[in-house]
Amino acid sequence: MTGTDQSSFLGRISIRRNQVNAMEGYHEQEIEDLELFQRQLSDRFTELLSAPDDAPTEAFLSISWIRKLLDVFLCCETECKAILLMERDAAQISKPPLDRLIPELLERVVKAMDICNAVTNGVELVRHCQKLAEIAVSALEQKPFGEGQARRAKKALVSLMSAMHVDDKESSVQKTAERSWSFGRRSGNKDRHHGHYRSLSWQVAKHWSASKQIHAMTMNLAAPRGPEASCLPAPVYILSLIIVFVMWVLIAAIPCQERSGLTTHLPINKHVNWTHSLAGIHDKIGEEWKKKEKKGMAGLLYEMQKMEKLGQSLIEFTDSYQFPGEKEKSDEVAAQVAELAEVCRRMDEGLVPLQMLIREAFHRLVRNRTEFLDVLEQGAPVV
């Protein structure tokens, strides 16, 4: 959705609210706003769902796809907040059931902030993988190619694999020795292993668990029924659901501390039109997750998966390589190297902006919370 679409949507709500305060049919217009909003949501998620599974760019769960998802999130957040707060009397959002729903929403917002921070850290790990892959690529691209380069590439790829397969349950610093680069004959000397392992959990509290956060965020998250479905509880539910959903996708895609049981069912109400695509994305990622979870992995990020596959195959190549190498094999390898180089390039282009975008989402959540608190404070009875 373009900026103009959004500003016209916001303008529409603003005009409404200004005009209708005392008019008849206020409620009907609100319903109309809400429906329009839901239609737009549906369109956006349908577009996300329709991303190809495997494509050089814009693949499902690729960096650029996640950036799109975050863009959608930022748009929805703005619009949802407009529906909820714009020109709204504080008394309206502090009466039941909103007096319960809004604080619950704000708790989810706080949890989402922590997830954003954890995921930002996870992106660092992805960047580390990128650097290792780049070393492998530059070794494999060397001409003339020989055993030296093969060993160099292998060393980088092995580190890459171990960095990718960090067990997110026990990524504390003490564990680094066993997982870090193997130094072969000198591996008895543990001191040497420092520094090759980037700890994932460093920024987060020890017992913090991404999947538990998600689980906690889904508590009491239920689609409003009956008459509530068409008034204020509806946008609160939508905003909550989208926050939980987006955080869930981020955790699934990007390395993060403690993600076991992430397939926890998100309470997506499939009977509402706008959630069809959302549910579709949820199912698709859930399936992927189930397939991969047991193997231990860095996340479902398209580029990482690609990197893993290519890395594995290139390790096999470097293992069996003997100078001067077979001609046919080298063509096949060259293609893989080119592909890996392309993945690195996309990471190089996309990861930093992705990190910025996650940070923007973080700041948006902070602001979101403040705005709600401000309105609630105005509505609070004066003591």
Partner: protein, 647 residues
């Protein structure tokens, strides 16, 4: 492999030219005062020329004899270490420099072999392959040596010079406006003034003597195109070291959720730790880390700032996230000083941060830092306003016993006496709200003729807070039913305020005019007290008929009785009242004495005939003594004291 036309000279004439050139190069190489660079060029050229020679010598591909010999020599030097468990740099400088020399030689050979175009010469290919493998072996080894070196020496640079945060950190002010009752407030309030001297304290994260070794490894690894490996290893170790330093500073890894739910007491401790850590991490460690990067990687352009950013990023982000969590929390008044500490810490570090992250890649950190600084500025303002609101809205249901100094007065005066330490910050942050407050506080000091210190935004805010306090105290005084006690209460509290202002850094911000005015105010309450309490008592002793010389016995008796009943009543009441300040208490007793004892003595003196024990319950001396019991805060019954005096 590239199939190129052979550029190797084939004629005898060429051979002579090559031989001559080779000769000259060798001769030049023996010159003593050559720069290192020039010598390297000559060595390279030497190798290259000998290759050409050997190539020409060996048309059949069996040549490269000299090259192969050299390769074998360095191969031995490099491979020998592969079976050794001892690290090269631990073995000695000679071993290290020999190894580096060998690596240089391999690189030279590779360059030379590459410099020759590839024809179908199998031998040449094979040699190049062998040399490349050897180089890989050496690079892998150098990487290990580097990591070993960095890890080994990082342990030795523990920050022994930094006083532990717990000894430095002052007692935390943990009370809120509602719960305060002691005198220890003042010491507990002291500013978290953690060593200013730690500001620009750059330390050797790696001992000075190791730097040249690290640099020499960097040099060969970058020269051999293994710069990426060097960076990854360097970043890995340094990043972990920084994170360990951060852990040593006792920063709990707290989620935003935890922080928002935290009790004020623990939160205050965390805020203090953060302030401390921020100073140490940025002022000491990041500055030192930057220097280390400059020393090691200064020659390698953008690699330098890239590595620094990678090392520093997660740690600084972690610190910033804590700040964000604090900035978004509710800004209660008790947070004000800690928030000011945090704000000032960041404000002091802005220049460092801008310098450390001046490159494009670091702009993200710079931006986040400035964003947080703004956020904390807003938090300080919010907490300041909340403080003002708390001062004026603090309510009580019951009168304060004894009419002494109310805890609110103590809290407020002690709290604001910390503000002058934050003067410039508060002036900056309160600037925009200044005009509103200045007009509210209609003290003459705020006028155009006022001195700088009394007219600054902080001064006006301070006076606005004390005037809120005054009006709150007036409200509280009304809870006392006894009008005299109302005056004692106000006198005590106003006197306390004036004393606090006079005896602290607050004085210049309030100015002499304020002090004069408030002296007059409490003195007025003192006078009012005397009037309300004693005027009616003294009136009882008044001569009804100024004409006659003395009273009749019965009239005298009547007056005596009336006086002692009234006096006893006052005594019973006011011994339980309290004037905590000894000087003030003394002053009030003296002036009371002057008034009451004087009137009593005059009264008795005028009627000498009737003076006997039976009708005079209290002698002048008794009254004088009894007055000393007032305002001690311990209720006394006069019956007891009289009996005591009689025995």
């Amino acid at each position: 492999m590239d199939e190129c036309q052979s550029a190797i000279p084939a004629h005898d004439g060429d051979l002579h030219v090559v031989a001559a050139a080779h000769h000259i190069v060798k001769a030049l190489g023996t010159t003593k005062n050559l720069s290192d660079d020039l010598r390297k060029i000559l060595i390279d050229l030497d190798a290259h020329l000998s290759l050409i020679t050997s190539n020409i010598d060996s048309k059949g591909g069996k040549g490269f004899v000299e090259v192969e010999e050299r390769l074998k020599r360095v191969e031995r030097k490099i491979v020998i270490w592969e079976s050794d468990r001892i690290m090269i740099w631990d073995s000695g400088p000679k071993e290290a420099s020999d190894y580096l020399e060998a690596v240089d030689e391999v690189q030279t050979l590779i360059d030379s072999l590459r410099g020759l175009s590839m024809n179908e010469n199998q031998k040449q290919k094979e040699l190049l392959h062998r040399a490349s493998s050897l180089l890989q072996m050496a690079m892998s080894r150098l990487e290990e040596e580097l990591i070993h070196m960095l890890v080994k020496h990082k342990q030795q640079s523990e920050p022994t010079y930094i006083p532990s945060p717990s000894s430095q950190r002052n007692v935390v002010y943990n009370e809120s406006v509602v719960s305060l009752d002691n005198e220890s407030v003042k010491e507990a309030l002291s500013k978290n003034s953690c060593t200013d001297e730690c500001g620009e304290y750059i330390v050797d994260l790696v001992p000075e003597h190791v730097i040249p070794d690290i640099k020499s490894i960097a040099k060969v690894m970058f020269a051999s195109d293994y710069g990426q490996e060097f960076c990854e290893a360097f970043i890995g170790v340094r990043k972990e070291a920084l994170e360990q330093h951060f852990d040593i500073l006792e920063n709990g890894k707290l989620s935003i959720e935890d922080l928002l739910k935290m009790e004020w007491c623990s939160l205050s401790t965390e805020m203090n730790k953060w302030t401390w850590s921020m100073k140490i991490i940025v002022g000491v460690y990041l500055m030192s880390e930057k220097r280390l990067c400059d020393q090691v990687l200064g020659k390698f352009g953008s690699v330098n700032s890239f590595c620094f950013l990678e090392i520093a990023k997660t740690t600084i982000l972690c610190l910033l996230n804590f700040g964000e969590a604090i900035a978004m929390g509710p800004q209660e008044p008790e947070k004000l000083l800690r928030l000011l500490d945090m704000y000032e810490t960041l404000a002091d570090l802005v220049i460092d941060i801008d310098a450390l992250f001046s490159e494009d890649g670091g702009s993200f950190v710079r931006l986040e830092f400035h964003k947080l600084l703004e956020g904390l500025a807003d938090s300080v303002k919010a907490a300041f306003n909340a403080f003002g609101v708390a001062v004026s809205s603090n309510g009580s249901l019951y009168p304060f016993p004894g009419g002494g100094v109310h805890p609110l007065s103590k809290y407020v005066m002690n709290y604001i006496s910390m503000f002058p330490e934050y003067c410039s910050t508060l002036n900056l942050l309160l600037e925009d709200q200044h005009s509103d407050v200045a007009s509210l506080v209609s003290e003459p000091q705020c006028g155009p003729t006022a001195s700088l210190s009394t007219s600054c935004p902080m001064a006006c805010h301070l006076r606005s807070i004390t005037s809120s306090l005054e009006s709150n105290l007036h409200k509280k005084s009304k809870l006392h039913k006894d009008e005299a006690l109302q005056h004692i209460f106000l006198m005590n509290n106003l006197h306390y305020m004036v004393q606090k202002v006079k005896g602290s850094e607050l004085r210049p911000f309030f100015g002499d005019e304020w002090i004069r005015k408030h002296n007059a105010k409490f003195q007025q309450h003192e006078m009012n007290y005397e009037r309300v309490t004693w005027s009616s008592v003294v009136l009882l002793l008044k001569d009804d008929n100024p004409g006659s010389s003395s009273l009749s016995k019965s009239a005298f008796k009547e007056k005596c009785k009336g006086f002692s009943v009234a006096f006893e009543e006052v005594y019973k009441n006011q011994t339980s009242w309290c004037i905590p300040d000894p000087q003030l208490r003394e002053d009030l007793r003296i002036s009371t004495s002057l008034k009451v004892v004087h009137a009593y003595r005059t009264f008795l003196g005028r009627n000498p005939a009737h003076v006997d024990d039976k009708c005079i319950k209290h002698t002048v001396e008794d009254v004088e003594k009894l007055l000393l019991d007032l305002f001690e805060g311990s209720p006394r019954s006069l019956r007891n004291s009289r009996r005591m005096m009689k025995t």
